[in-house]
């Protein structure tokens, strides 16, 4: 489904990703962990098409298509979804209107007829229930005045509506208390399916108690330096990142 090959990217001339290799198969959950500044969020941003980053090498193939030349909206239409670490507040645009535009733009991309208002509302209500999203938030301006938890839940709600093939969760746990974390994780789990893959980017292990990964990768200094089963996350939790750093320095 997703194949990242020797991906290199830089921002303002500084190389952040120094050759990433990763294979994600349908239905798999991959966790990407690593100390601050290791390039985790950069990887998520580059996959979603954030333009501040310059890709300097490698390629990314998603569902048989090379995506690095695609605009962010094309990637979204192909089925890539990024749940933002810091969801943006957009005054004046209601969540419902925003999502209706998104759904119909993606349908247009796929050559499908737009949903009418009634079909759309019905679908949205079902999805809202699925992720315990309060209906009243839908009519409010997108993320404006939402609490941290509400913003993150809104991300998962949008994911439920857009039904991506690949969801990338960028530090979705940051700023959440344990209750909010559980609700968000339940939302993500309810969307798991044999066709949908997930990349969970996180600094801490605690999110992985709820969203259990198939694989854990450690990103350090722009490279994946260690990969393993879910137990690797527990080891990191217990021992911190220093031993990984030491290993890398010893080899390097």
């Amino acid at each position: 489904m997703l194949s990242i090959n020797d991906l290199r990217a830089s921002i303002e001339g500084k190389e952040i990703l120094k050759g990433i290799n990763l294979e994600v198969k349908p239905g798999e959950v991959h966790a990407i962990m690593g100390p601050n500044g290791s390039g985790k969020s950069t990887l998520a941003s580059v996959l979603a098409g954030r333009e501040e980053y310059e890709v300097t090498g490698g390629n990314v193939v998603f569902d048989g298509k090379e995506i690095l030349e695609m605009a962010p909206e094309e990637r979204a239409a192909e089925g890539i979804f990024l749940a933002f670490q810091y969801p943006v507040e957009i005054p004046g645009v209601t969540t419902i209107n925003f999502l209706k535009t998104a759904v119909n733009e993606i349908r247009k991309y796929k050559g499908e007829a737009p949903l009418d208002a009634a079909q759309f509302l019905k679908m949205v209500r079902e999805k809202a229930k699925l992720v315990s999203m309060n209906d009243s938030l839908l009519k409010r301006a997108l993320n404006e005045g939402f609490s941290g938890g509400e913003k993150k839940r809104n991300e998962i709600f949008q994911m439920a509506v857009l039904e991506p093939k690949l969801a990338i969760l960028d530090e979705t746990d940051s700023g959440l208390d344990i209750d909010a974390l559980r609700i968000v994780a339940e939302g993500v789990n309810s969307l798991r399916s044999p066709e949908r893959s997930t990349i969970v980017v996180t600094h801490y292990q605690r999110l992985l108690d709820y969203i259990v990964p198939d694989y854990v990768h450690v990103l350090y200094k722009g490279r994946i330096v260690k990969s393993g089963p879910k137990e690797l996350a527990l080891e990191l939790e217990e021992k911190g990142y220093d031993w990984i750093k030491a290993e890398v320095e010893a080899v390097g």
């Binding site: 979603a48 098409g49 954030r50 333009e51 605009a71 962010p72 909206e73 990637r75 979204a76 239409a77 979804f81 990024l82 933002f84 969801p87 943006v88 957009i90 005054p91 004046g92 645009v93 209107n97 925003f98 999502l99 535009t101 998104a102 759904v103 733009e105 993606i106 991309y109 301006a141 949008q158 857009l162």
Partner: protein, 439 residues
């Protein structure tokens, strides 16, 4: 060739004297004396140059470089006006063609006990003392060449009176049409609106142009807001690429009254709006909202004044603009708090999005506060579209152009939502959506 070298000012002054010479006894009336004083002031001031502080960023050189026919006849009839109609508008619709009120084209649906509407000339005939006393009453201290010019050449605008305690259900829409199909036309409508105590009314002035020749509109509207009255007043400009517009709205508010203004400039080559509100009463509140979208080489200048003369009143102002191409925008907002006006609250904000490196926006808040127990604030921002918001929307599958439109529409929304005449607001939403999608 000699006539071409005579400038607009000289031509206008000559015109005035020529017309005065053929007047009968009317020349000695109070009404005419006010016009003559207007001419004298105009003669003294002349058209402003950019050396004039109030016109620093708005150059009228181009506006006054040609002549205009201020007495152009127009064949416009209901058929042409049909095209300019706004859908689903259940309102009193007053038509003005080249600055003159056309009763025969207008439709008044509110009952006569709620509103009196008549051409200024007719109102004057019926009650010369009263109408002459209203005429130029609010603008008499304006040291402004265009207002003086309008006073001197006042065309037959309209006199509207809402009696005390009347609530006018249907809005009153003043539709000004410049017929520039054949020649350069000038119009100088003067409207006087008197809203009685505790009366409620919604008004709108809409400006349109027919044809591609130049039009020059120099309008003045004086609005008297009596005690406890509630007035909503909107000005919508959707004129041609050859339309030059200078307009002044002068308002006086008395105790306990409420005034809401919305000024939306959709299109026009050169636009200067003066909105001057004198809060001459206690416990008044004045609200000013503005929106402008210049593109190409258009120029939009909004000058506003909130003049607090009495204690315990509030003014609140929000202007927003989106500038493209080589357009220019100007905002000058003055707040005066006079020595008596303790406990004044006055707020002002002007926010702009500049989408092109060749577009410019000049903003100047000007607060002059002579009382010590007041709350005043002002702020201006000029920036680009929020890139992070744009990326957020695109990451959900929304194309860049659609995302831009949505963001810009959202930017305008808090002003558009203030327009409380549904048909006008819906019209604006449609035109703005088209305009934002066009690039």
């Amino acid at each position: 060739m000699s006539t071409e070298t005579i400038d607009l000012k000289t031509r206008l002054i000559t015109d005035f004297h020529a017309r005065e010479a053929v007047m009968n006894g009317e020349a000695s009336s109070e009404f005419h004396q006010k016009k003559r004083a207007g001419l004298a002031l105009f003669e003294q001031l002349g058209f402003p140059t950019i050396k004039h502080e109030e016109w620093k960023y708005s150059n009228v050189r181009d506006l006054i470089s040609v002549s205009y026919d201020f007495n152009a006849e127009s064949s416009i009839g209901l058929a042409e006006l049909e095209d300019l109609k706004v859908p689903k508008q259940e309102a009193n619709i007053l038509y003005f063609v080249n600055g003159r009120y056309k009763a025969e084209l207008s439709t008044i649906i509110s009952p006569v006990e709620k509103i009196t509407i008549s051409a200024l000339s007719e109102a004057y005939k019926n009650d010369p003392v009263k109408v002459a006393s209203y005429f130029n009453e609010l603008t008499k201290d304006a040291n402004d060449a265009f207002t003086a010019l309008n006073t001197a050449f006042t065309q037959d605008g309209v006199f509207i009176h809402i009696p005390d305690n009347q609530s006018v259900e249907h809005p009153i829409i003043l539709r000004f049409v410049s017929d520039a199909r054949e020649q350069n036309v000038g119009s100088q409508p003067r409207n006087i609106i008197s809203v009685g105590k505790n009366a409620h009314v919604k008004l709108a002035e809409a400006f349109r142009t027919l044809g591609d020749q130049r039009s020059f509109t120099n309008s003045v509207t004086e609005i008297h807001v009596a005690e406890e009255a509630n007035v909503q007043y909107y000005k919508v400009q959707n004129e041609s690429e050859n339309a030059y517009h200078v307009g002044t709205t002068q308002v006086r508010m008395l105790d306990g009254s409420h005034f809401y203004a919305g000024t939306v400039t959709l299109n026009g080559k050169f636009t200067r709006n003066n909105l001057n509100i004198v809060l001459d009463g206690e416990h008044c509140d004045a609200h000013m909202y503005g929106l402008y979208f210049p593109d190409g080489s258009q120029h939009v200048d909004n000058h506003t004044v909130a003049d607090h003369q009495k204690p315990n009143s509030e003014s609140n102002e929000l202007y927003k603009g989106i500038l493209r191409d080589k357009s220019k925008g100007v905002f000058n907002g003055k707040i005066f708090v006079r020595p008596d006006a303790q406990k004044t609250n006055a707020f002002q904000s002007c926010k702009n999005i500049v989408l092109s490196p060749d577009a410019t926006m000049n903003t100047k808040p000007q607060l002059e506060i002579f009382a010590d127990d007041v709350k005043c604030s002002h702020g201006t921002t000029t920036g680009q579209i929020d890139e992070e918001a744009l990326f957020y929307m695109r990451s959900r599958g929304i194309s860049q152009s659609e995302a831009m439109s949505l963001l810009m529409f959202a930017f305008c929304a808090d002003v558009v939502q203030q327009i409380k005449i549904d048909s006008v607001r819906e019209y604006l939403e449609n035109v703005i959506t088209q305009k934002l999608a066009s690039k």
